[in-house]
Amino acid sequence: MSFNSLTYLLFFAVVMLGAWLLPGRRPQQIFLTVASLYFYAEWNSLLVLLIVASAIFDFIVAQRMGDSASPRKRRAWLLLSLSGNLGLLFFFKYSNFLLGSLFSAQQWAGLHLWETAPHINVILPIGISFYTFQTLSYTVDVYRRRLEPVREFPRFLLFISFFPQLVAGPIVRATDFLPQLDKRAVLIPRNLQVGFTFFLIGLVKKVVFADNLGGFVEKVYGQPELYSSVPVILATLAYAVQIYCDFSGYTDMAIGSATALGFWLPKNFSHPYFSASVTEFWQRWHISLSTWLRDYLYIPLGGNRKGVSRTYINLLLVMLLGGLWHGAKWTFVLWGAYQGALLALHRFYAVSIEKSDRLAWFNRLRETPAFRWFSVAVTMYLVLVGWVLFRAESFADLQQLLHKFVVFDGFRRSYGIYLREALLVMVLIAGFFAVHFTSFRLGGLAPRMAKAGGLAWCALTVIGLYLVMALTPARSPEFIYFQF
C-alpha cells in the first residue's frame, strides 16, 4: 500500500476515524499498532512477524539492560542487541552481496571453490534498514541511561511500526517519539489541515516531479552507451530532482499523515540543493540518517576529539557505512567513500582557511552572497557527480556515465530522445528549482502554506490537487528508498 494510492487514502480515513473514536490512550495505541502492522502486511504478511520478533527481542533486552546495575552486564545486553539487530540486517540485506563478492574474489584469485555464484533465497524486508536503526537507537539510548526502557509492549511496538514512517523513515528517535505516547493523541481539525497540506506537497513532489522524470532517467541510465554528454547531464540533473522529490515527498507524506493523527515526526530535508558545502548538504539531506550516524557512529568512534587524522578516518568510515546502508552494491560503497572524502576535504579546507591570518580577506569574501552562490553551484556539481555513482547500475556503466558527465563530448546526436521529451525534462527541472528556491526563501513551503489564510490556502490546494489529477503518470513506480 503506497502513499500515492487510493487504497491508502481509504485506509487512512478508517485509521483516522478509529483513532478519533477510541476513547483511551491504550485502546487508541493498540488500534494504531494493529493498523500499522496491517499496513506493512499489505506488502508481505509473513515479514510482519519479523518486525514483531525484532520488537519483542529489543523490548526484553532493553528491560534487562535498564534493570541491571552492573556495567558489564549492561554492555553484554547491548552487544546482544547490536548483534541481533545488525545480524538480521546483515542476513537479509548483505548476505548475497557478501557471497557474490567472495565469488568474484575467488575468480580473481584463480581459485575454484564455487563453480557458480552462491545465492541465498531471501526477500529483502521493506524498510528493514529504517526500523533496525530505530530499534538500535532505542537500545543504545537505554544503555546510555538517556531513556527509561518501555514497560508496555504495545507502546513499544507502535514506536517501531508506526505506519507513516515504517518503510522509508524518517528514522525516529525513541526520545522523540515515546514521550508522545504518554497521552492519547488528540485529533483536531487544524492538525488535519496542516497534515493534508504536507501530504499534498509530498504527493505533488512524488507524482508530478519524481515520477515524470523517472522514465527519462531510466532510459539514459539503462543504456548509457547510446547517449552523449547532453542527455547524460540532463538525466543526472533529472535524477537529482527525482531522488529528492521521491524521498522528501515520502517524508512529507509521512509527516502529513502523522500530523493529522496528532503525532510529530522529525524533519528530514531542508532544501539540500541550496547547500554551500558538502558538509552543509549532509545537514540538509536525509537529516534523520546523518544525525543518527553522527550520534551513534561518528561520536562513539571519537568524532573530532581524537586528533586530526583520526577525524578524517572517522568521517570516511561513517560515510562508507552510510553508503553501504543504502544498499548491497559496490557502487553505493563507492558513493559513500566519495561523500566521506568530500567531507574530509571540506573540513581540511575550512580549518586551513580559518586558521590562516594571511587569508583573512578570503574569509571575508566567503561571507559575501556572490561567493555563497558560487559555493552552491560547486556543491551542486559535486553532489551531481555523487548521484552518478549512486544511480549507475554497474561499474561498466559508471565508467561511461562519469566520462560523459565530466568530460563533455560535444553535441553528438543521441538516438531515441525527442525534442518534446527533452523539453519536458527541462521544464520539470526548471519548475522544480523555481519551487525549491521559493520554498528556500520562504523557509519551507508546507509550513507557509499551512499558515496561509483561507483563500490563499484554497488557491494553492486547488493548484496542487489539479497537478496531481492532471500529471500523475499511468504507472507510478514505487518510492526509491523502499529498496533501502
Binding site: 481539525p189 524533519k267 573530532n304 483561507g454
Partner: protein, 376 residues
C-alpha cells in the same frame, strides 16, 4: 558555520509545530471538498478543451480512431464499379503507399491507406467486423519482422482510444487471442478513460504551443487522411544510419534479433493468420507484402532470420492469398531511414503495387527505380 563537520541542526519539536489558524471539522472538510471539486472541474475542462482535441487531431493514437471510423465513410463513398483496395500495416505502409498516385496510375482502383504507426496484426483484429461489412475486393497487408517476430502487445494508447463497444463486436476467435492486459485495457470504463487521457497532457500542451514532438511532426489532417497519410519529410543521412547501427552493435530489434524463435508462434503472427483466413473466407483477395528495408539493414539481418520470415509468410499463401517479397526491392536513395520510404521510394513501391494488381501502365513502370521483387 564550517567549524564542525557535523553540526547539530537546531531542530526541536517546537520548530515543527505549525501555527495554522484554528477551525472546525466542518470548515476543514468543507474546504477540502470545495478544493477537490474545483480541481476536478479544471481537469474536466482540460480534458474536454485540450486532451480530447489533441488525441483526435495530433496523436498517433488518434489515427487508430480515424481509421476505425473511416470504414463506414469508405462504404458510403466507394464507387463499387471500381476495385476497392485497402492497405493495412504500420508506418512502413503509411510512408510507402500513395493512394492518389495508385488511383491515378490505374483508374480501375479505389485505394485507401489505412496504416497505423507501430501497428501489428494483433491490434488490427478489432477492424475485422468492419472489414467484413465493407467487403473490399483486395486487402494489401504490409508485413515485416515486427509483425511476425515481435511478442509485444499493441501500444496501450492504440487499444484505449477505441470505445469498449469496438472490442465487443470482435469475432469470438479474435477475442480468444487477446491476452489479459489487452482485455483489461479494452474493457476500461468511460471513467477510467477519462483519467487515462491525462497521460497526454504534456504532449497536448506542446502540440498547442506548436512544439514538434519529433523531427517529422504529424501534419494537419493526418488522422483522417486515407490517401496520403505521410509524415516523414526529412531523411537521415547514410552516415548517421551506419552510426545508429554501430552504437547498437549492428543490431536493430526486432529486425535483426529478438522476439519469438519461430516467426509464426507469437500472438501477432497468429493474429495475422486469423485476419488472412477471415478475409479469404469472405472472398477478399489478400496480398501479403514483405516490406522493403534499407540495404544497410538487410545486410545486418542474418540469412536464417530472413528465411524464417519468408517461410512464415509463405505458410499463409493460397489461391486467394498472394505473397510478395519486396525486402530488397528498393534502392538505398529511396529511404528516409532504415525502414521508411521517401517520396521516390513511395512512388516506386506504389508503382510496384499497381503492377501487382493489374498489368502495369508504362508510365509507372518507367518511373520505378526498383531493384528486385519476387513472389514467394
Amino acid at each position: 558555520m564550517f567549524r564542525n563537520c557535523y553540526q547539530i541542526i537546531a531542530m526541536s519539536v517546537e520548530d515543527h509545530v505549525i501555527e495554522a489558524p484554528a477551525m472546525s471539522w466542518r470548515g476543514v472538510f468543507g474546504r477540502l471538498v470545495f478544493c477537490t471539486a474545483v480541481a476536478f472541474g479544471l481537469y474536466a475542462a482540460t480534458s474536454a478543451l485540450l486532451l480530447t482535441p489533441y488525441i483526435h487531431d495530433g496523436s498517433d493514437a488518434g489515427r487508430v480512431l480515424g481509421v476505425y471510423e473511416a470504414y463506414p465513410r469508405i462504404a458510403a463513398s466507394a464507387d463499387r464499379a471500381r476495385e476497392l483496395v485497402l492497405f493495412w500495416g504500420s508506418s512502413m505502409i503509411r510512408e510507402g503507399v500513395d493512394c492518389d498516385l495508385l488511383e491515378a496510375s490505374d483508374p480501375r482502383l479505389a485505394a485507401y491507406n489505412l496504416s497505423v504507426s507501430g501497428d501489428i496484426p494483433y491490434r488490427r483484429l478489432v477492424e475485422l467486423p468492419l472489414v467484413k461489412e465493407l467487403r473490399p475486393d483486395r486487402v494489401v497487408i504490409g508485413v515485416s519482422y515486427p509483425e511476425l517476430f515481435e511478442t509485444r502487445a499493441p501500444f496501450e494508447d492504440q487499444i484505449a482510444v477505441l470505445p469498449p463497444s469496438a472490442y465487443a463486436r470482435m469475432p469470438t476467435e479474435a477475442q480468444a487471442l487477446l491476452e489479459p492486459r489487452f482485455r483489461k485495457i479494452a474493457g476500461r470504463s468511460s471513467w477510467e478513460r477519462f483519467w487515462w487521457k491525462r497521460k497526454f497532457l504534456f504532449s497536448a500542451v506542446f502540440w498547442k504551443l506548436g512544439v514538434p514532438d519529433r523531427s517529422n511532426p504529424i501534419p494537419a489532417g493526418f488522422v483522417e487522411n486515407l490517401k496520403t497519410p505521410h509524415v516523414y519529410t526529412k531523411s537521415v543521412r547514410r552516415v548517421e544510419l551506419e552510426k545508429f547501427l554501430a552504437t547498437r552493435g549492428g543490431q536493430y530489434a526486432p529486425y535483426t534479433s529478438g522476439g519469438e524463435m519461430t516467426a509464426s508462434a507469437g500472438a501477432s503472427a497468429r493474429s495475422l493468420a486469423l485476419l488472412v483466413s477471415e478475409l479469404e473466407n469472405q472472398g477478399t483477395q489478400v496480398v501479403l507484402v514483405n516490406m522493403p528495408l534499407h540495404p544497410l539493414l538487410n545486410d545486418a539481418i542474418p540469412p536464417e532470420r530472413r528465411a524464417a520470415l519468408c517461410a512464415a509468410i509463405k505458410l499463409l499463401a493460397s489461391p486467394r492469398v498472394r505473397v510478395l517479397d519486396c525486402q530488397d526491392a528498393i534502392a538505398t536513395e529511396c529511404f528516409t531511414d532504415l525502414v521508411h520510404l521517401n517520396a521516390a521510394g513511395r512512388a516506386a513501391f506504389t508503382g510496384m503495387m499497381a503492377g501487382e494488381m493489374h498489368p502495369q501502365p508504362a508510365s509507372v513502370a518507367a518511373a520505378t527505380p526498383a531493384k528486385s521483387r519476387h513472389e514467394l
